[in-house]
């Protein structure tokens, strides 16, 4: 498979680009909701529009009413989300939760997928425990109780958790905290008693929850997939989410870079456009190179994932780490090259820096994933 978009994907890219530039624009969404101190942190109206565009259920199988598309396609939507800093539950709901639900029973899929596809419902995932992404260790416990389970523990960085109708929770049903096995995934509905959210606003104006489960009673039909066999599905979610986050990061990086390169062509100092200075030209050209490479490996990882390749896990980590490097560089160079104006809230470049920071931490940062690459490579 060649490493560029086929005709259908190119068409989707054009549609998504146009749609997001108009409907998902920074002034219309990010600033709009932020400046109104919106407790959701995103617009439900836009989520409805996502559904009308077919985005919400794009990864859902056609038999379940979705479009049955792959991660290259989801990446196209995410890159445009990144480029416009569009606050959206797309990555959590339509990529991460949708990947988990794919492995659910007929009942589970029938209960949760239609609401997602129609843009009526928003879902999230609860994986992290603590401030850093360490999915190898899961202490949050689900004990057998009657016909169901009783869930206890804490989860962090649950994106848009308080606004979510359902949260996919990775919990331990057997074994020790660091065991690979013994994990079960649960679809926990919003009204589950004993679940509480400490919802906080993050640096990028998105909302995330510290979620506490205090003996939350769950029916047996809340289980997604096999009891004790959740690690495999969790890994699939993580791969999908990491490749998705990488795609969004590519959008953040190229959005910041384009804005910066434009600025170099407008701003004058010492009687010259600052883009004429070689000191800035070389840094911009180096940045271009890094962003191009990051995009290439992101598409590669998405293709491997869609093809069910064994290399997908490694390349998902490579992509997440490489994008983190490139996007981190893009926003830092962006603010620096904008000079004073880059420090103002009025100007958008700083918003890119904030979004990048949050995205870096989501599902593992550059250090985590580079370490994972080393481990998977055997050193």
């Amino acid at each position: 498979m060649p490493l560029y978009y086929d005709d259908d994907q190119a068409m989707l890219a054009e549609t998504a680009q146009q749609f997001m530039a108009e409907e998902g624009a920074i002034a219309k969404q990010l600033r709009h909701w932020r400046d109104r101190d919106c407790k959701d942190g995103f617009g439900h109206g836009l989520w409805k529009q996502f559904a009308e565009m077919g985005f919400t259920g794009m990864l859902v199988d056609e038999d379940d009413g979705g479009l049955g598309m792959g991660h290259v396609e989801a990446g196209i939507v995410l890159e445009n989300i990144g480029r416009n800093l569009t606050p959206s539950p797309f990555l959590s709901s339509s990529v991460l939760a949708a990947t988990a639900l794919k492995h659910g029973s007929d009942d589970v899929r029938g209960r949760w997928l239609p609401g997602l596809i129609e843009g009526e419902k928003v879902y999230s995932v609860a994986i992290d425990e603590g401030a850093k992404h360490r999915p190898e260790t899961i202490a949050c416990k689900a004990e057998k109780s009657g016909n169901g389970f009783k869930l206890s523990g804490k989860k962090d960085y649950v994106v848009y958790g308080a606004s979510s109708e359902m949260i996919v929770v990775a919990a331990r049903t057997s074994g020790g905290d660091s065991d690979a096995d013994g994990i079960t995934l649960f679809a926990v509905p919003q009204d589950a008693s004993g679940m509480s959210h400490d919802s906080v606003r993050l640096v990028d104006s998105s909302m995330a929850s510290h979620v506490t489960f205090d003996g939350v009673e769950l029916d047996g039909d809340a289980v997604i997939g096999e009891v004790d066999g959740g690690r495999e599905v969790l890994n699939k979610m993580l791969m999908a989410g990491r490749v998705g986050a990488a795609a969004e990061g590519c959008g953040v990086a190229s959005g910041a870079m384009d804005m910066t390169v434009d600025y170099l062509k407008q701003r004058k100092q010492f009687g010259k456009l600052i883009g004429e200075f070689q000191a800035l030209q070389h840094r911009a050209a180096h940045l271009y190179s890094e962003v191009e490479i990051a995009r290439a490996v992101t598409i590669k990882a998405a293709q491997l994932l869609d093809g069910g390749s064994e290399k997908a896990d490694l390349m998902a980590s490579v992509a997440k780490a490489k994008v983190a490097k490139a996007a981190g560089l893009a926003v830092k160079e962006g603010v620096q090259m904008h000079g004073g104006i880059g420090m103002t809230d009025e100007y958008d470049i700083g918003l890119y820096m904030k979004r990048d920071r949050a995205l870096q931490e989501f599902l593992g940062d550059m250090y985590y994933h580079a370490g994972r690459v080393a481990e998977m490579s055997g050193y």
Binding site: P2, L3, A285, E290, E292, A296, V318, A370, Y379
Partner: protein, 393 residues
């Protein structure tokens, strides 16, 4: 089974049957590379057999048309062949600047007569070419070159000096930039083709910091270069005084080649191999290796994307400059890390244990990667100007 799947199966079978086991081992030294040419010798029977069977199938230049010695493979088939060769570790049957550089220029700018003669000679490994571009006073600023060809009607008389001519002392012919109009900087250069055995051509190897001498100084002292070698075979490529167009086109190919876009060792991850050699890695070195491997694996995806896009005309025309920049900087980093992991053993300059100081010599060699074929700084200039469209660049 699709046509391509059938081709893959067929190719795999053919390679299994025809590639000798010795030719599936990594290249160890210069003698393992077969360059062809009038005075070429084979290191062993396996090298000879592998070269000949590939030559006869058109696999020295698989994507060139069959009438010019290739196998006429489509880009997709060519990619499959490369993948299958790389899978079994098969060495290239023939390496040459004719294949990498002059060939693409002739395919693009050559006359039918030139293609018939020169491309077939290259494909069959009969003539070994070298490139005459840089001059002592014209490195990054190549277009300022002074080597001059005086027009004598049916021939030129060439005087001047080239430098960094790769393997000029072993080459049969040279493709050479020669100034033919002193008044016109860009449109005053002709891309000439001539025999290195001719009178007035001399070469002098340059000893590098690696101790090796892959490059020469090449001197032209009243060298007679014919304007024609026969019917429809001009002694120059493209038009007279328009050699700069050919040179620029070729620089693109050179940059792709140096960038290692085609994959192979230069884009591979190294962490695991270094741990095997070095034993326990220092924590910070391990971290550096991990970051390197991220960059290397990402770059290999970039190489694949770049080649895929190139084949269908989707790549930005200046993208080879980006590939060259990123690829060579990566390769320098790779060898720094290999030296660090190698410790004092990697310092040995002549020992058998290091195959004659290979780690150190290779490390030093890589320092030229970001100089030859356009420095990293020139690559960044080109990206600024042609891709980012920055002012005054």
């Amino acid at each position: 089974m699709s046509d391509l799947e059938a081709f893959r199966a067929e190719t795999r079978e053919w390679l299994e049957a025809n590639c000798p086991p010795e030719m599936r081992k990594p290249v160890r030294d210069e003698a393992d590379v077969y360059w062809g040419g009038r005075n070429a010798t084979f290191k062993n029977d396996a090298q000879k057999a592998w070269f000949e069977v590939c030559r006869d199938k058109g696999y020295t230049v698989p994507e060139w048309p069959t009438e010019y010695g290739g196998a006429g493979l489509s880009p997709a088939e060519g990619k499959i062949l490369r993948q299958e060769m790389s899978r079994m570790g098969a060495r290239p049957p023939l390496s040459s600047f004719g294949i990498w550089m002059l060939g693409p220029a002739l395919l693009h700018f050559g006359t039918e007569g030139q293609k018939q003669r020169f491309l077939n000679e290259i494909a069959r490994g009969e003539i070994r070419w070298c490139q005459g571009y840089s001059e002592p006073g014209s490195g990054s600023d190549l277009v300022s070159m002074q080597t001059f060809g005086e027009d004598k009607g049916d021939h030129w008389v060439v005087n001047g000096q080239k430098i960094w001519t790769s393997y000029a002392d072993e080459a049969d012919w040279i493709f050479c930039l020669v100034r033919t109009d002193k008044q016109n900087k860009y449109q005053g250069i002709t891309f000439m083709l001539f025999d290195m055995a001719g009178e007035g051509v001399s070469t002098k190897p340059i000893k590098l910091i690696s101790g090796n001498s892959p490059f020469c100084e090449t001197f032209f002292d009243d060298v007679k270069v014919p304007k024609s070698y026969g019917d429809d075979i001009p002694g120059y490529v493209g038009e007279i005084n328009r050699g700069w167009d050919v040179a620029k086109y070729l620089l693109g190919h050179e940059r792709e080649m140096i960038s290692g876009a085609g994959g192979g060792d230069r884009t591979a991850a190294i962490g695991a191999a270094l741990k095997r050699n070095a034993g326990e890695l220092d924590a910070v070195l391990r971290a550096e290796l991990a970051m390197f491997d991220v960059d290397a694996l990402a770059y290999s995806a970039m190489g694949e994307k770049f080649l895929d896009e190139l084949k269908v005309g989707k790549a930005h025309p200046a993208q080879p400059n980006m590939m060259k920049y990123a690829g060579t900087e990566l390769n320098k980093r790779r060898h720094e890390l290999m030296m660090a992991a190698g410790g004092s053993l990697a310092l040995e300059w002549e020992s058998d244990e290091t195959s004659g100081g290979k780690p150190a010599r290779n490390w030093l060699r890589t320092k030229a990667n970001s100089i030859e074929g356009g420095t990293s700084e020139v690559m960044l200039n080109v990206i600024s100007k042609r891709i980012l469209d920055l002012p005054g660049a």
